[in-house]
């Protein structure tokens, strides 16, 4: 077999998947998004002055962008760089912007606006699907996203069993997602390094 084993083929498949989605696999680039989600969750239902709350969120978001840019430079120095194929992911972009993000936004709006009418926390289910699609469309692997998605989906059932409303659940979800996402991006980095080292 000219020295090639099934393991070599599977490794080359992982190399393809990581290279095709290299930006998304550089987990630490997105480390700032976890705190952004946590702050967004905390200020949603907190008795804070609206301007202060918005200012805090913007400050954390700006910090996350700065961290992302700096970490991106470190990744480039350590692993080198690739230039993506133009238009290779146009379907993913269309589905993301026209379907997934609007659905996530709409579910959040419904949960916030109609807490008394909703017996389920819609965002838990919709955001879980969004996370599964994110994993699938960015090269698979990274099973931790399935765990995080399962946690979000489970949150969807909480209003059925407790007195917590869907509006209050937004804060809970953002805290769970922010914490889980922070862990997930660190695991992304580990998995990317494992592929790079030929594991």
């Amino acid at each position: 077999m000219a020295g090639i084993t099934i393991d070599d083929i599977e490794r080359s498949e992982r190399v393809r998947a990581v290279t095709d989605n290299f930006f998304f696999w550089q987990g630490r680039r997105f480390i700032g998004l976890g705190p952004v989600l946590i702050v967004a969750g905390l200020i949603t239902n907190a008795p804070l002055d609206e301007r202060l709350a918005k200012g805090l969120l913007v400050a954390v978001a700006v910090l996350a962008l700065i961290v992302s840019a700096r970490v991106g430079r470190l990744y480039r120095a350590e692993f080198g760089s690739v230039r993506p194929i133009p238009g290779a992911h146009s379907t993913r972009s269309r589905v993301k912007w026209l379907l997934v993000y609007p659905a996530m936004g709409a579910s959040l709006a419904l949960d916030m606006l109609y807490p008394a009418q909703l017996q389920l926390f819609l965002s838990g289910f919709v955001w879980a699907v969004g996370l599964v699609l994110y994993r699938k469309s960015t090269g698979g692997g990274r099973v931790h996203y399935l765990t995080l998605a399962a946690c979000l989906a489970a949150l969807g059932l909480v209003p059925l069993a407790t007195a917590v409303t869907s509006r209050e659940m937004v804060t809970v979800m953002m805290l769970v997602l922010g914490t889980g996402y922070t862990a997930a991006v660190l695991l992304d980095d580990d998995e990317m390094r494992a592929v790079m080292k030929g594991a």
């Binding site: 090639i4 083929i9 080359s12 290279t19 080198g80 230039r83 993506p84 194929i85 790079m196």
Partner: protein, 106 residues
Amino acid sequence: MDQTPFAELAAVDRLIHEPSRLAILSALLACAEADFQYLLSVTGLTKGNLSSHLSKLEAGGLVAVEKGYQGKIPWTRARLTEDGRARVEAHWRDLERLRGKARRWR
């Protein structure tokens, strides 16, 4: 009588069908262009081995290598040629087909 999947593998493109070169070409198949540092990271090869494989792939018409300087720092970038992309894509289709056959053959 049908050949076994293993006998069929004897007919594959030998320039592509080598573990390190398959990894290099698979990385290049997934992007427009990659720099030398990325290919080093993704293959785990030494600089000398990577250069040697790239030279063979360039000589075989699969890969185009471009070198230059940014200030005083040298850079090397590689990409698949049009023919190379077609051959590597076809090779991957064969590998996937043969892998499926091998599973059924077992």
